[in-house]
């Protein structure tokens, strides 16, 4: 179980919202944690571009087998936080 500081979560969430807003061309204020990435993206290219953007911003590689469990924005936040925490340890 990863212990996440509330401030870290808020910062990470904001960063992820910004990336989603930029890549998918969606106003940041309209993004919520329970929204599904598939519903926000116009097509497969946008979804893949989003994954690449996360990899570039956080300098990490996504394990593509994990993608089956990542559908909502909240799950993206948890995944990124877990990846970053694992890479520090």
């Amino acid at each position: 179980m990863v212990n996440m500081d509330k401030g870290d979560i808020e910062l990470r969430t904001r960063e992820i919202f910004e990336i989603i807003s930029r890549i998918l061309d969606i106003p940041m204020q309209s993004i919520t944690l329970d929204m599904r990435l598939e519903d926000m993206a116009q097509d497969s290219m946008q979804l893949f571009s989003l994954i690449l953007a996360f990899e570039e911003h956080y300098d990490t590689e996504v394990d593509y087998d994990d993608l089956v469990e990542i559908e909502k924005v909240s799950e993206v936040v948890s995944y990124i936080e877990k990846k970053l925490t694992t890479s520090i340890l």
Binding site: Q42, L67, V68
Partner: protein, 248 residues
Amino acid sequence: MKVKKFSLKSSVMCLLPMSDSMNFDEQKKNGLFVAFSSSDEVKQNVFSKDEIAGANMIPEKKRSEHFAGILALRRAVVQCYPNAETIDVERRRNAPPIVRVDGMVLTSISLSVSHSHGYAFAAIMNAVTSIGVDIQKIEGFVLTSTQILSQEEQGRSPRHSMVLLWAYKEALSKALRVGLRVHPKRMDIQLNEAGNLIGARIDNISLSVVGVQYEQIPGLVSVLVVLTDNRIESLLRNRETSYYGEHG
């Protein structure tokens, strides 16, 4: 609808319609059937209570595109079942849709649907194969060769657009039911001069596959991939094979 002609492998020929042949079920026609629709047509059509309920979780902005997908599926299915009185489509997350014809769930078919920027493309075929479709807007396509092409593909002289190569890889992922779990750079696809798919490899494993592009909607690339590999059942169900994952 204009279809680019290409020579088919003999193993695929028997799966495609050469005439209106009927199997033992007099309602059903054998073959491959495709259809398109757009969000603009949604308001002129009627949807069942279940179809409407299924759209409640879809954001309003994308709901008309979701219904366009249902329309395209219905149009594809009615070509296969021309005497059907009712066709209902149940869309599912990360899995092919469930279709009911006159209340009966279709089980011996392979279905695929794709959306992009207000358009939908659907296809249906006998389930001895697995199919995948993808529709992609050409303008604004930003992915580069280093992001989506395998080493072998990058080493070849470019004959086709990135958007076409991407669309085929996406359609192949759908036919394999793996989605983005197989990185596009692990796929090596071969196209002929006309831009039709004539072969594919994933991590140097060859697949028996063919594909064709349709020129139905200006500004969009639309492709269909037919996976004819006789290992298909084991490929789709084998959890130990990392490429193929679980059949949806």
